[in-house]
């Protein structure tokens, strides 16, 4: 369709051709500087593609430095785990230990939770039923014997967690105390009442 203009072939200026021009030196230098910076950046932040290193950590060494010190809160963490597990206490008493108004009494600040260990251990071991006063309020308890399926270690851990969390500052409960109370309670099937608990020696 289109007709080549005749002039181009007869023009005095030669047809332009692609030539070779060397890459400017500054560009080469810049590229090497960028490459160097990239290597340093990767070295400090890349974690060498380790699947264990997530931002904001930079390396497994740094991650190791940020591990919780061994022995740190281990007993409390074990108790927290039982407390918050699917079968645990948090279902009724909630993760914050405040319970539910009108249904489940609070553990935070509760005089029963921070009272004598021998009384507190009996509550999850056998359950609790009937009227009870917690933090000046009357409750009608209907707690099953959730602690009976736990081991002595687990029950001691979770009770210690309750006694030391949410502002509670009571003493630790050891597996030996739980074992002792378990022996005293024997095969008792029916839950305790508040009055019975008050009569248990401290």
């Amino acid at each position: 369709m289109s007709v080549e203009p005749k002039q181009s072939t007869t023009s005095s200026t030669p047809e332009p051709k692609a030539g070779r021009t060397p890459v400017p030196v500054w560009l080469v230098v810049l590229l090497f500087i960028l490459l160097y910076w990239a290597m340093i950046y990767f070295d400090s932040y890349g974690g060498w593609f380790s699947p264990q290193v997530y931002a904001p950590y930079h390396s497994t060494n740094q991650l190791a430095e940020y591990q919780p010190p061994s022995g740190d809160n281990e007993a409390l963490l074990a108790g927290k785990k039982v407390y918050e597990s699917n079968l645990g206490c948090a279902i009724c008493h909630q993760n914050d230990g405040l319970g539910k108004p009108g249904q489940f009494p609070p553990l935070a600040g509760s005089e029963w939770a921070q009272g004598a260990p021998s009384r507190m251990i009996r509550i999850p071991l056998c359950g609790l039923s009937g009227p009870i006063t917690v933090k000046g309020q009357a409750w009608n308890a209907a707690m099953p014997n959730v602690g009976s399926i736990l081991t002595d270690d687990q029950l001691a851990a979770v009770l210690t967690y309750i006694r030391k969390s949410w502002g509670n500052t009571a003493s630790e409960i050891t597996p030996d105390m739980v074992k002792k109370v378990r022996g005293e309670v024997g095969g008792r099937a029916q839950p305790f009442t508040g009055d019975e608990l008050s009569k248990v020696a401290e």
Binding site: Y54, Q62, L63, A64, Q67, P68, P69, K164
Partner: protein, 314 residues
Amino acid sequence: MNYGPLIFLAAFFALATSWFGFVLKPQMQIGQLSQTVTVPGNDTYPLNRAGLAQQGAEVYRANGCASCHSQNVRQFGTICEVVLTATGTNQTALIAALREIKAGASDQEIASFLTGLPKQLVIGPSRAVADKAVDSIKSAGGKTVMHIKPAGPELARGWGERQSVAEDFLYDSPVMLGSQRVGPDLAAVGMRLSDVNWHLRHLYNPRLEVKGSVMPSYRFLFEKRKLAAGASPDALVLSAGAGVPADAQIVPKREAIALVAYLTSLRSQEPLFTAPYSTATPPASSGTNAPGTNAPVAGASPTTNSTTTPAPAK
């Protein structure tokens, strides 16, 4: 000139590099992922979901929950907290160390700080400052515990204790990370809201539990039955404002129960080596905490990234 082979090579190179970067390398990185253990605690993590919760994951998927809810909490930094647990015997040296740490504090403030330990000594984003405080207290004969908490706006909202890592999704197929946050993140919703009945009421009508919620009601997961047939033990306990007639009851279908089982199974909160955190000390009596075994004081200079020491992966 025939550029065909050159174009073919260039295209092949471009596709091959992206395949290496986006498919092969990630596969090598986390393709062999397996169960790990919690640190501290040494428990196996993660465990597979219970059967009902696995069915619930399908309900979650079918109803498109992932289009408004994510399951991925991110961490943007750390906060180091140093707690002074014991003063030791050299009171003068300790007070000198404290004066250095708490610059500008009067003698009276320092004296009152030393009563009623354990007390928070330093809190801040800088590991170097925390390490320095630990070192100076240690050389003065006192004892400290250091806690490290992940930080970031998402953690500050209470969406979890730590960031999400690949292990959290080990048994999920497909992984429902989500991409939009019309609603809150659900990575650890089972920890924050562990009440099954709350979830059921919230699914039936979100406005009953959360004022101004924009979540749609999932009423088709529930059945409206006449009370005449006898009250179901599963029926929701609803307040009078819920708009349910007095002669009717709302009973969750199996899908609703499964979905709630799935939601309460979302508990990616165990501390792992890849996402460390130590819980804040509850105000414990200092006897139980064995403060002697604490604090990564030995040679922990966080500014260096040297690769000389192998990671004591504990």
